[in-house]
């Protein structure tokens, strides 16, 4: 079993001291080690952003894709190398903004991969602009008058689109996050883990302490992860009111929903399942037509 530290490269992380990416990095390394995944048994695809800089710090056979384009690269990887555990690390801007189309389509295809979203509710790398998950009315350098749009609801979108594993983690709770990662990697099909990853430099609202005061563990409150409606209901919990107190908005983390019975796209596309579209169609005889043109 590779030890946790073996998943680390010699490159010292360039993230700001205290960044939530450190916790996510640590949790992933622990999960990989506990799942006993050797370096030729998994692969990670990163998007562009602070999260993507992790490509230099995690030892793996990785791919650093374009901004917003990690999911299509990972889809191809998963389909051509079904033996690999394919992991995507994407940003909230990266995956829910510029790459939103890929996100929805990857969910509905149920391609076998683990999609980890570093949701810091800001564009970190480009220094503090509003992202699709930035809270309504928050002022940032790109929205000095406040964000006008409602934030994207990634869990709700994924559930609505038939996702087979939907979870939420918090970078400030590494043991819990490690367990989530292990479950997600073990799940066959598309697994989304949206992780609150405080950006200590640019997001002064959704800080570690902001989350610590609000998060609670779904397992502790008896949530049934096979109940899709209950999961959807939970995904609608509005915690994003800027002024809401810890009592008013409690933020659930843990596994919202899980269904291990749905066949993956991998099985269907490789003929392992029994999809109708593999049935041969009879070619039409057009020799008369060809003859008519001499």
């Amino acid at each position: 079993m590779p030890e946790v530290k073996e998943y680390t490269t010699p490159h010292k992380p360039t993230w700001c001291p205290g960044c939530g990416n450190f916790g996510m990095w640590e949790a992933l390394k622990r999960a990989l080690s506990q799942l006993d995944l050797d370096f030729n048994e998994f692969s990670v695809v990163w998007g562009i952003g602070c999260h993507g800089n992790g490509a230099d710090f995690l030892r793996t056979q990785g791919f650093h894709a374009l901004h917003g384009r990690s999911l299509p690269v990972a889809s191809a990887l998963s389909l051509t190398r079904p033996d690999l555990k394919v992991i995507v690390e994407m940003g909230d801007g990266d995956g829910y903004g510029l790459g939103m189309g890929h996100f929805i389509h990857s969910v509905r295809r149920n391609i076998d991969m683990t999609c980890i979203a570093h949701n810091n509710q800001i564009y970190g790398l480009t220094t503090g602009q509003a992202s699709p998950t930035t809270e309504h009315l928050m002022r940032t350098v790109s929205t000095p008058g406040g964000v006008l749009e409602e934030p994207v609801n990634p869990l709700g979108l994924a559930l609505a689109q038939g996702a087979t594993f939907v979870a939420r983690g918090f970078a400030g709770d590494i043991p819990h996050l490690t367990e989530l990662y292990k479950q997600a990697i073990g799940h066959e099909g598309f697994a989304l883990i949206d992780v609150f990853q405080p950006c200590v430099t640019w997001n002064k609202l959704n800080t570690f302490s902001w989350f610590r005061e609000r998060v609670y563990n779904l397992e502790d409150e008896g949530h049934d992860p096979s109940d899709r409606r209950a999961a959807f209901e939970l995904s609608l919990t509005t915690f994003h009111e800027m002024t809401c107190t810890p009592d008013e908005c409690r933020v659930p983390i843990g596994v919202f929903y899980r269904d291990d019975e749905v066949p993956t796209y991998n099985e269907d596309a490789t003929g392992a399942g029994d999809p109708g579209y593999h049935k041969a169609t009879k070619p039409r005889d057009i020799s008369d037509l060809i003859a008519a043109f001499g």
Partner: protein, 395 residues
């Protein structure tokens, strides 16, 4: 001549100032290094009420240019800014903007393209867009970036032109370095750019029109393209005319090209953007050493000033063309190809060599420029010309 205010600030900051002074109706944008602060500063102006514009922070550059197209078709004056992958992602829409003859003005912070990942200056992004039908102006300095931005509006909106204009400044070197810049007062800029009078605007409800309709299957697509070609050809005179008018107002000269020490030059360098400063510096040193060195800076790349460039190089023995972009598979970089083409009809054709330099922000040291002039002097005295492109300073 109106009084101007001298400031010390970055290229991006004066481009944002020019945006404000041009008073666009709509500015849709998406952040990307090293463009980001142009739009951030503009967003601040909007929030402060210092400009009355609809500023739309969208979710991608494809959306940004799509929103530009929609707003411009509606009849608005539209500006935006981008860089590198952002410009690449706009690709489809760049053609829509020029094909629909929409006078959108966009600043581009010139930056390398992936892969491998790089955020520093070169011209791969903009040179990739050179055939998209946009008028393209390049700045050497923050001052020129400011001036070009202002001039882009009357060029784009000229009824003889009606084409989008890209105003390009070198990433980090010009966008982020602090430079001395003279700014015009708001009234002078306002009067200079005038009020936009859109033609065939969607919001002109009394004269309903459709934009973007199908023109294939024997429709007028081919003729459309010819009219686009005629428009960009006409834009050359407009770039010159607007440049002359702005010269009068600002006291700074603006040609399609700028020549320096070319009257009796025997060896010359043709270059675009901030590196012109390095070349000018070295050419002056060489002049002091008795070498007849000169510089030609191309300010307007589209439409390309073929005749002007050929005339500038008429008396020269050997010319080096410096390209900060590749045209993989071609004889050399894009500027080299144009320069060679410009010289084809010339009576006297100097030796022309091509150097690709500074890709991904690789350092353009003065010694490297000096080595180029040394090569040229050798060629001028009989050494066979190098077969390029030479990768200047590559390890």
């Amino acid at each position: 001549m109106p009084e101007q205010k001298t400031v010390a600030t970055t290229g991006n900051s004066v481009v944002a100032e020019a945006f404000r002074q041009c008073a666009p109706d709509v500015v849709p944008a998406y952040p990307i290094t090293p463009q980001t602060t142009i739009v951030e500063e503009f967003a601040k102006f909007v929030a402060q009420g210092r400009v009355h514009a609809e500023y739309v922070p969208v979710e991608s550059e494809h959306s940004a240019m799509s929103a530009c197209v929609g707003a411009s078709a509606a009849g608005a004056r539209v500006m935006t800014a981008t860089s590198s992958q952002g410009l690449a992602l706009m690709w489809e829409e760049l053609h829509i903007a020029s094909g629909m003859r929409l006078p959108i003005v966009m600043a581009n912070a010139n930056r390398a393209l992936s892969a491998p990942i790089n955020i520093h200056c070169d011209h791969s992004d903009v040179m990739g867009a050179r055939d998209t039908g946009w008028v393209m102006l390049f700045a050497e300095t923050a001052q020129e970036a400011y001036d070009n931005t202002i001039m882009s509006i009357p060029i784009a909106e000229d009824p003889e032109v009606l084409l989008p204009v890209m105003t390009c400044l070198d990433g980090f070197i010009t966008t982020h370095s602090i430079d001395r810049v003279q700014l015009m007062d708001d009234e002078s800029v306002s009067a200079f750019v005038g009020e936009y009078k859109p033609v065939n605007a969607l919001l002109d409800l009394d004269n309903p029109v459709s934009h973007g309709s199908f023109a294939g299957l024997g429709g007028p697509y081919f003729e459309f393209k010819r009219s686009q070609r005629e428009a960009i050809d006409r834009s050359k005179a407009v770039v010159e005319r607007v440049g002359a008018a702005f010269s009068e107002l600002s006291g700074r000269p603006f040609g399609l090209i700028e020549t320096d020490m070319m009257d009796d030059a025997e060896v010359a360098v043709v270059v675009i953007g901030s590196t012109a400063g390095n070349v000018r510096h070295v050419a002056k040193q060489l002049r002091a050493e008795g070498v007849k060195a000169g510089l030609v800076k191309v300010r307007c790349f589209r439409p390309f000033p073929y005749a002007e460039l050929a005339a500038a190089l008429a008396g020269v023995k050997a010319v080096a063309v410096l390209d900060r972009a590749e045209s993989f598979g071609a004889e050399g970089g894009p500027l080299y190809l144009e320069t060679r083409s410009a010289l084809y009809d010339a009576e006297h054709r100097p030796a022309v060599v091509n150097y690709v330099y500074g890709l991904g922000g690789s350092d353009v040291k003065l010694e490297l420029i000096r080595s180029v002039f040394t090569d040229l002097s050798d060629i001028a005295t009989g050494t066979p010309a190098l077969h390029g492109p030479v990768y200047l300073g590559a390890r």
